[in-house]
Symmetry: C2
Subunit: 307 residues, 2 copies
């Protein structure tokens, strides 16, 4: 990092977010858990639950290009956000849409975006509560703001990992741009089942590649990690490096006590055809110092990395 | 409107929104009141309240230009959204920020945006619960997703107007680009007091000019309206036409039974120094057909009007 950062790429995404968010007030009465996890946790009038609150955006020429079928872009905008609710073992209920659209956009394309968002809303049994359109002097931007809830005792943040925990991922990883990034299934049911039946210590969804996201989970838990990278479950056509570095897997990454690992693998196979792979363990922070910016060590996607 | 609309500007904003949102499912269990009012109303675990949910965005070169001090842009992004909570006589509690930022943006400018949002959060006693940053291939886009609540019996939608209701506005209108659009005060306290002390039938905040917004309120109530336009309270330097057509007043527009008008004006003066002006009345729909697109008749800002 330069001594005197001048523009956003001088910092990188994680440092930039820390720099910007220090200006923002957070009251413990209004927010239980703020920036840094898959969803924010807010108090609920129901004392047995947390509210979950999340926004996620798709920017043209950053997250998708105009040659992508618009219904797939719309579905992805909603499904990405739903995946963050799975990551907390919660369920979404409603969302608002912000659609920033070029004035000369083809009406068919705009309708395709909304058809895709509508299809996803039906698929995940959530309601569109409204939103906003604005004209855009540049490209398309879709942002989804989503609300939901989780029972307090079932909620799994990133920060609960313990030394010695076994680290698991669902499904297979990498080679996501071949189609998976538009067709993925948020793991709502799997996350709910895990949280209901096992002492899951920490969980997140894989959006930036396990090589970037596992260091984040470990850092949130104040721990290090050890992974046998060659054991990563590679999607058909993916190299081990792609399984490590490609973003947009939208699989679950979670930890639980190592003593529970064998029982989990047995019971999982009775319930799901989806694969489940033990990829490593959490360690004491002193035995592994990989708690710095994951993007620099392990690939993954950094919005504000230097070119 | 062309017989076969091809691009967004062939439709205009209101028709476009109707066209797009028909693809979106809404369940009555998940959403009490969806698109079309200042905020969405959602069920709350507390049966005496509704949750309020709203998003609002600022797009560079649509809503602001880069020569605007960034702290003022940031404050405006939050304050605009807060104004929608005032319009329902509610209070916000927390928000998420979506910041889409060019990679070469000056760090000082980005920090200024967040300083402004932080200042507004403290001003309105709300918490930043997190959010997201993305790079932008074009300009800056800030979107605020905000949550809050309102007691059910205090909540004032746009749709409750009755024939004969007196129509009021707070403050003075027009000439907003001279500074008001960056310095306005959301009318949280005034709206709460109105709703607690008078049978307010319908209310909204003025964002697109009373000439566009009053037709919307009347249409939502299934009514017409009669206004003595020359009675509009003009801001210093504003012509009557500007008071009618300029957007971004962020004042309250509301209706109540005409029989309450005199008592309201008396009690208002005892409580507030802000002006309150009776500008007209709601009418039966048959006596006035001005329930079509307000933007075409009365000015105001339409994001997807033909150039």
């Amino acid at each position: 990092m330069p001594d005197h950062p001048q523009q956003l790429t001088d910092l990188g995404e994680n440092a930039l977010i820390r720099r910007l968010t220090r200006h923002l007030p957070v009251s413990a009465e209004q927010v239980e858990l703020g920036a840094g996890d898959d969803c924010a946790l807010l108090p609920s009038p129901d004392p047995t639950k947390w509210q979950l609150f999340k926004t996620d955006c798709l920017v043209e020429d950053v997250h998708f290009t105009r040659d992508t079928p618009p219904a797939q872009v719309g579905r992805k905008a909603v499904a990405r956000t739903v995946s963050d609710f799975a990551a907390m073992a919660g369920r979404p209920s409603s969302f608002l849409i912000t659609a920033v659209l070029p004035k000369d956009l083809a009406l068919d394309y705009a309708e395709g975006l909304f058809q895709g968002m509508g299809r996803a809303a039906r698929e995940f049994q959530i309601s569109a509560a409204g939103g906003e359109t604005s004209s855009s002097p540049g490209g398309i931007m879709l942002s989804i703001a989503m609300l939901g809830e989780v029972r307090k005792e079932r909620c799994v943040p990133r920060s609960g990992g313990k030394p010695g925990d076994a680290v698991f991922v669902t499904g297979r990883l990498g080679h996501t741009l071949a189609g998976h990034h538009l067709q993925f299934q948020p793991r709502l049911e799997e996350a709910e089942w895990l949280s209901a039946n096992f002492p899951i210590h920490a969980m997140m969804d894989l959006s930036d590649g396990v090589g970037a996201d596992l260091p984040r989970l470990a850092r949130a838990s104040g721990l290090g990690y050890h992974v046998t990278w060659e054991n990563l479950p590679c999607r058909d056509g993916a190299s081990p490096r792609e399984a490590l570095e490609d973003g947009e897997d939208y699989e679950l990454l979670f930890t639980l006590p190592a003593a529970q690992a064998a029982r989990l693998q047995k019971r999982w196979q009775d319930h799901f055809t989806l694969e489940l792979t033990r990829i490593g363990r959490l360690t004491e922070p002193t035995t592994n110092s990989e708690t710095h910016e994951g993007s620099q060590r392990s690939g993954g996607f950094d919005h504000f990395a230097q070119p």
